[in-house]
Symmetry: none
Subunit: 143 residues, 2 copies
DNA sequence: CCTCTAATGTTCTTTTTAAGAACATCATAC
DNA sequence: GTATGATGTTCTTAAAAAGAACATTAGAGG
């Protein structure tokens, strides 16, 4: 979902450059609450402001909206490693979403931490946890 | 002016691909006259439609809006994006565990599916889900 | 622990801008 | 010249975002 990807990326790059929302708002001559709504996925900005933000952060628009496969070089390493079946086909088939997944995790340290915790659990615990996650996610997906 | 550059580029690429305005409109599920207004610099499209157009024409968003200095090497982009703290150190120091994480996800399709579901939630829902996951994982880690 | 302040998130109203329908014009083939 | 497909414009409506005000959170310092 574009609005989510944009929200994540805006927040990520803003913090990376150590700006407050107010500072961004001042630079764009808009209200600070608008920046908050962009970052929380409530609204999308117009093209003008999107372009200005990309220039401010010195990233491409494609990166900003999560279009470019910025992790492609990393992924090609894994493709080489997993060139035998059946995983090669899996990667090829889901390449787009898989890239996004990697990028997402890189930008969400807390998620990465949770995944690390999850991986450190026993298999049995992992299965239990997975059932819980599945239920939670399914209920939320329905809303 | 962005609106002019966009207009010019849209018309150029549409004709290059031999589409009519009606065909573009059909692909985007919008009125044909809207495409005309985009092409004549009366209005700018939203980000969703801009992205769809760039994908349809297989051009970058940056080219579409006429943004300059877009030709960076993909690898250097990747390194630049992740080279500053705290993520550079994280990648450097945790590269092994990051590799393991990727490896783990590839080998657990159900986990990957759940992550995809998670990423498709709204930002608000993601935050709620994350709190639940954190609690569950913390309790399990203690056992 | 509490307090304070800066920073951020949300809601409701207003504003702005774009979408759409209808009409007008242009381009091209015959 | 006509006909038709394609495109351009105008006016109204709709949709989405902006903004102001309020609410909540995060973190520093005592």
């Amino acid at each position: 979902m574009l609005i989510n990807r944009f929200a994540h990326n805006l927040k990520y790059y803003r913090k990376k450059h150590d700006y407050t929302q107010q500072q961004i708002a001042d630079l764009l001559n808009i209200s600070r609450s608008v920046v908050a709504k962009w970052e929380n996925g409530h609204v999308l900005p117009d093209l003008n402001n999107t372009l200005k933000l990309s220039q401010l952060f010195q990233i491409t628009l494609d990166e900003f909206v999560g279009k470019t496969n910025v992790t492609q070089n990393l992924l090609s390493d894994y493709q080489a490693h997993y060139s035998s079946e059946p995983f090669a086909e899996q990667i090829d088939f889901d390449e787009e979403s898989f890239n996004y997944l990697i990028d997402f995790i890189i930008k969400h340290p807390s998620l990465k931490q949770q995944l690390s915790t999850y991986m450190a659990l026993s298999i049995k615990q992992q299965k239990s946890a997975e059932k819980i996650f599945a239920s939670v996610l399914e209920e939320m997906r329905k809303q």
